[in-house]
């Protein structure tokens, strides 16, 4: 599904990503973890073309997307959420979801033909369905700026569902949430987002990772230091050292 081959990204002297080679298969749910500054968000940003890699190759379904523009990558079926939310605050909740469907095939500028109008109805129904899945149907006509953080995070999930992408990056989907809200988010990801697509979750809350991910990749200082089953990865000395320091790893 997604293959990164020797991907590198530097910011001046800082090696944000060093020789990252990793593959994500179809319908996998993978946790991408690591301490702050380890390169998790940089990896997502490089794949989704927020900025290009300095070296290496990125393949999606066998197609080289290394030098694609962000909107083209999005149209290929790769979607993402953001650690710092990027919603259209002055649009309604339903407007945000409809904007997310923009690049989908059949969603044309002007609906002159009967087929276009039928497609538009289907897109609208899909947007309504996505809001129901995340429990925001009752606030569909409110401005996004009026919603509290947990609902805004759910709105980002609704945008994903309405687009039905093949590959999803969730960047700290439970960021700023209480434990109860995080549990709800974990359930939502497991029940609605993860099925039938590749889902890569960046998160510091390990209980959420353990709940939804069958595989975990660990980054530290821009390098991939572990990749495998969560129960095995969480006890690796290199992983413990990355999070807690050398003394804890050998304790």
């Amino acid at each position: 599904m997604l293959n990164l081959v020797s991907v590198e990204k530097r910011f001046g002297e800082l090696h944000a990503l060093s020789e990252i080679t990793i593959s994500f298969g179809p319908n996998e749910t993978v946790g991408l973890i690591g301490p702050n500054g380890s390169g998790k968000s940089t990896l997502v940003n490089v794949v989704t073309a927020t900025y290009g890699p300095d070296a290496g190759q990125i393949l999606f379904r066998g197609t080289d997307i290394t030098s694609h523009e962000a909107h083209r990558i999005s149209r290929l079926g790769i979607a993402r959420t953001f650690q710092n939310l990027r919603l259209f605050q002055r649009m309604t909740v339903i407007g945000n979801v409809e904007a997310a469907q923009y690049g989908m095939p059949g969603n044309v500028f002007f609906r002159f033909r009967p087929d276009d109008r039928r497609n538009a109805r289907n897109f609208r129904q899909k947007a309504e369905w996505a809001l129901e899945q995340v429990g925001l149907q009752d606030v569909r006509n409110r401005l996004a700026s009026s919603l509290p953080l947990p609902q805004l995070r759910r709105l980002e999930i609704a945008r994903i569902l309405a687009r039905d992408p093949e590959l999803v990056f969730l960047d700290e989907p439970a960021g700023g949430m209480t434990p109860t809200e995080s549990e709800d988010m974990a359930r939502l990801i497991a029940d609605c987002v993860a099925p039938n697509r590749t889902c890569i979750v960046i998160e510091h809350k390990m209980d959420l990772i353990a709940h939804v991910c069958a595989r975990v990749c660990v980054l530290n200082a821009g390098q991939l230091i572990a990749d495998g089953d969560p129960e095995e990865v969480f006890v690796l000395p290199t992983v413990i050292e990355a999070y807690l320091g050398r003394a804890a790893a050998h304790a």
Binding site: A70, M91, G95, A99, Y102, V108, F109
Partner: protein, 299 residues
């Protein structure tokens, strides 16, 4: 009282043309957060193409209208490629300065195309106007008002009833977020420019058909009127552009009637100054000033 109402009606009709020019500015500013200073000169060059067709080819008024609008759109596309597409998004000042440079270039092109200072422009209607009770409405003014209102409805439908409008609003709010929805800001910006130029071409035609003449100074005049109307109504606000344009037209008409032509522009500047002092974001555009202030506070 009859004079007052008649003057207000005259002001509204010229103001509706100002509103169209301000709408063009607002559309581009809303999407790009950049000011296109050569918007007025683009309309002027389009009008010069129209009057060239009129003078040299003896074109019919409808063909002059088509040439004017098409010419404005073509020049608008040229300006977009040169001053906005080619310059990085965060270099707003560079875009504005280069649009000023292009302004000079467009005036030169107009002078080369038609070396004289003033050229005739065909009138819209041969008959004068209509009487409604004690009031007299010139047909050009009625047409300007009607076309302006029609364009507003079209713009409203475009923005809120089409996928293009949705994408345009998304880019206007956050082009960084819009790209991850599959929206190409470059493409949307280009079409916003085309549409703004179309509106400008229509406004230019209506104004010049009423005046029946065009000079190279029309570009300067249109840029000033459009910018003042936009700032009166509120930066980046579409309803603000309409209110600003109509208000500017009415203020000018009343000043001209009661105080004379000499102080017409001065009064418009004075009102703009007062509005900006009392309400810095313009009458309906407070939001954008507050958002920028918040952004600076965050920095």
């Amino acid at each position: 009282m009859i004079d007052f109402i008649q003057t207000t009606l005259d002001g509204l009709s010229i103001g509706s043309a100002y509103a169209l020019i301000a709408l063009g500015f607002t559309l581009v500013f809303g999407v790009m957060r950049r000011i296109n200073l050569s918007y007025g000169p683009s309309i002027m060059l389009g009008a010069f193409a129209g009057t060239w067709a009129f003078v040299t080819l003896e074109a019919q008024p409808w063909l002059v209208a088509v040439v004017t609008i098409a010419g404005t759109v073509a020049v608008g596309m040229y300006v977009e490629r040169l001053c906005f597409w080619a310059i990085r998004k965060d270099a707003a000042i560079a875009s504005m300065v280069s649009s000023f440079v292009i302004w000079m270039q467009l005036e030169e092109v107009a002078t080369i195309l038609l070396p004289g200072r003033t050229y005739p422009y065909p009138e819209l209607f041969k008959f004068g106007g209509i009487d409604i009770g004690p009031y007299f409405l010139r047909m050009e003014h009625v047409t300007t008002l009607a076309v302006a209102m029609f364009m507003l409805v079209v713009l409203r439908l475009l923005l809120y009833r089409t996928r293009f409008g949705l994408a345009l609003r998304a880019v206007s709010e956050s082009s960084e977020a819009a790209v991850y929805m599959g929206i190409s800001p470059v493409r949307i910006t280009f079409w916003a420019f085309v549409f703004a130029s179309f509106i400008g071409g229509v406004a230019g035609y209506l104004l010049l058909a009423a005046d029946q003449q065009v000079t190279p100074y029309f570009g300067l005049w249109a840029t000033f009127k459009g910018l003042i109307a936009m700032m009166l109504g509120g930066l980046g606000s579409i309803p603000g552009a309409i209110v600003g344009g109509l208000l500017l037209g009415v203020i000018e008409a009343h000043t001209q009637w009661y105080l004379g032509n000499a102080v017409k522009d001065l009064t418009a500047y004075l009102v703009l100054f007062l509005v900006l002092v009392l309400r810095p974001g313009g009458l309906l555009g407070q939001g954008i000033v507050e958002r920028h202030a918040q952004a600076f506070r965050r920095i």
